[in-house]
Symmetry: D3
Subunit: 138 residues, 6 copies
């Protein structure tokens, strides 16, 4: 049984690599490399897998799931400029892929128990583009 909770946050980012020239960055990331940054309403779906508890009929306490997402993702990332305000994006390019991996790293230990494990992080950068990450548990 899998349970998925959706959340949203608004953030801005710059996609460009210091290992690449401005022309290379522009060729790879297009307008995303604009050094002033640009923004998105990110939509995050967090999927937890587990067996429903025989007494409660629930895989996990949904208020707890919401609280963990709030503490690990929404509070530190909402209304932030990711490259400048959220580690490790001062040194890691905040592509949707890297952002999903970082969200996995933050959530997986908090959502692992003897009954549950983080199954998938899905991150929509726009309506038409999303990434899914199924990582290793820490």
């Amino acid at each position: 049984m899998k349970v998925t909770r959706r959340a949203e946050f608004s953030a801005s980012h710059i996609c460009s690599s210091p290992q690449l020239s401005p022309d290379e960055n522009r060729a790879i990331y297009g307008e995303g490399a604009n050094p002033h940054g640009h923004g998105h309403n990110y939509v995050l779906e967090v999927t937890v897998e587990g067996e429903p508890d025989p007494v409660t009929g629930m895989v996990m306490d949904l208020k707890h799931l919401k609280q963990v997402i709030q503490e690990e993702v929404i509070d530190p990332m909402d209304h932030r400029f990711l490259n400048r305000e959220v580690a490790p994006f001062d040194r890691v390019i905040p592509t949707a892929e890297n952002l999903a991996m970082e969200i996995w790293r933050r959530l997986a230990p908090r959502l692992a128990s003897d009954k549950t494990r983080l199954d998938c992080v899905r991150l929509f950068e726009t309506e038409d583009l999303y990434v899914e990450y199924r990582g290793e548990l820490a």
Copy 2:
């Protein structure tokens, strides 16, 4: 090849366990434990897996799939108070998890053939919360 059909139904439910005290129920289910009940527009996605038939080019007859969902889920559950009107929710807490398992139990035998099997039941309780169940075939 997987084919998914979406359907909606409106129902009300109470999430509370007779094995728990009122305070415990309130702590676990929050407002969902309100003894008067509350309601949702549930969105159901039913996924069937199989090989497309070489003549028809279809995994299964979509009118049949729609009819089975209608008979097994929509007719008995739409506009119902689940705890009071739909078995087994007189004795099983109608959490999204238990509801998805019950829908699986109802649909799996009807959608199993030599060519097809029920693959997944996905149930949205709200836009921001859904469960997925892949059960065993009866």
Copy 3:
């Protein structure tokens, strides 16, 4: 300039009139007259009209708008059985139309100022059915 804020709440209701016979109620409201009640995820859109303030560039403080919707609609109606727990629906049938009028009555005085007025209440009962009400200010 109009500003619209969306909010959601889950509630259950019964649509039937004590002035009508059970058969008449069933004829008019269909399954909605089920005496056990059924539920919806209501989506509410509240539109306020006014001139943007020259200093803030905003028609009104959005945190205040959210707070008023929370206090007047979400807190009293979310996870409630409207007929039994929310006045005046003990004596007024909670159709979408009557619900929108009641929401107007609750919000209009709170959102009226020398600069702003409530313009419209839009209430979705399902994805495929909504009502809009533009009432008189109290």
Copy 4:
């Protein structure tokens, strides 16, 4: 007859006024006043009013409408930091209200003809918040 075309762009902005103190800005705009900026996927709906042409059966050439939106809004604003890269937002706070008014100013003269006029600019900052502006034609 009204025709509405939807378009999207991603941008970042800061909502704070130089006429206000940091504390006042934080009180009014909340996290939106973060000096590093944050971003959104803005959704824009542009509505043109007119009579369908008797020969073409269309209010206006939809490719032209798309092109005007592209030139006046998407090209200059997509993937931009509004406060730093898009006039007049170096001196006007880019709230949704001010952004809608600026988009009106850019589009209205381009979409006015003997047969058509700009009717409304609707701008979604998030799924749950949008503004509508019906201005005067230049």
Copy 5:
């Protein structure tokens, strides 16, 4: 008080005028002029205005509204090639504008009563393009 009901239908059409040359048709309608036709999932929103009945609390019987839309629009247009199978589109170009006007003509007399009138027909040709028509009552 306004009540809006949404419905969908799938149809194909060709947008080209016999009064225009093939080059002119291609210039005006673009790919829409393809003589083989192409198709859409049209989404229709029908808005009726009226006063809620004091006994029922409803502007009109929603089952009746659904039935009228079914009879006048869905049954004759769903899964049809509009230019070839649905009058008057054998001689009128089925642009979204003309389609909305025809739907108005079909629905307005059926939805007019001493208590109600058709207020608006909104037709989405795609997610990003829709028309709204408020006609005269016959």
Copy 6:
């Protein structure tokens, strides 16, 4: 890591088999067998799997992914009558299943590299019906 890009196209089709009688076709495909054809706004989701590049932080160049979808699917299929204008649908029934398989065949070789592979093609025929295909690489 999986990356999914969404695209839309409008096309018309007829679902009927020359191996079946008109009555059999009508029984199997319902209104979809209408010999004049009907249409849809198809929504396509293309999922690519791979490891994010350590320098760019991306699984693949998104502009390239968009371009491949444009060349292999949108350009040849948008605004087309599939049975008459797009091979192999002159001889293969363009059910959603067969369409997804053909899209897989077109995309898989273009999206396969030492770092990436096509993972899934998901095709929505309507909001309420979609198919998913995970084929073999050519």
